[in-house]
């Protein structure tokens, strides 16, 4: 059972890092979805006014017109 402490350390580092990464990612995704809901409510409140053209670039206007759930990217690995 030589070097078993290094084996344990290697697996522990991997799992700890993965756990922290997933927690951070979940917290960020949750806060972004809350922010999307809040901004959509504000947009809905100001709906009586004439809608101006979006100032954002690229496909930002299409991003603004979608649903709260972000749409799928074109492909994945």
């Amino acid at each position: 059972m030589e070097n078993i402490e290094y084996l344990f350390a290697g697996f522990a580092v991997f799992w700890a890092a993965l756990f922290i990464y997933l927690l951070t990612l979940q917290a960020r995704l949750r806060s972004l979805h809350r922010e999307i809901e809040r901004l959509e409510e504000r947009l809905a409140e100001s709906e009586g006014k004439p809608a101006p053209r979006s100032r954002t670039v690229g496909n930002a206007s299409s991003a603004a017109s979608g649903s709260a759930e972000p749409s799928a990217p074109p492909a994945n690995s």
Partner: protein, 240 residues
Amino acid sequence: MNALAILLARVYEWRWVVLPPVAGVAMMAMIVGALVAAPREIIEGEVQRLMYLHVPSAVTMYAAFGFTAFASVMFLWKRDMRWDAAARGSAVVGVFLCGMVLATGAIWGKPIWGVYWSWDARLTTTLILFLIYSAYLLARSVAGPLDEQAARFAAIFAIIGVADIPIIQMSVRWWRTLHPQPIVFQTNPALPGEMLIVLLIGFIAIFALATWLISLQTDTERAAQRVSALRAEVDHREIA
């Protein structure tokens, strides 16, 4: 082409149903295989079992950065910010895996080489890859999620950065390094069959995990783009 895009979108919609259980089961199988089923290596001892985590992480890291470069090319071609989100998503996962490769490699190296770190060609080129994509993510995070000019420069940087991968892969042939010559990716792998099977399970596990993480991270980047677009829209309406 349109049918292919629809098929890809349909497959992508199933990612939450398929990827987490597949990744979870494969990771458990990999751990059991690595710690229990695989034979103990005579010279290196127990620490050699880190190979089932280290090698699949390295190969999947190449795939993640390769996808970052591919998505960057697609972004430059189509000018669609969804490709930028996909590039950022896979770069984050690539940097995470690269960090894990460096960490598990250092832990594996200590009892075998006597040091955690050496300026060996493969270690140094892997560290450079980690720094390249960390810089890419830093540059991309400083600019806004919908900053198209920053996305263009970052895409070019990501495409150039991927050139480090073949250098890492060939480093053990070009220079004298502490790493062994390739023993897995050759016509007759120099590993016993039991080790190869566990290694294959490790590849499936880490690849499924990385695919799930990339889709999760890409969704996060898309949500950040949407927040940025909505903020601009709200600001514009309130000013008008």
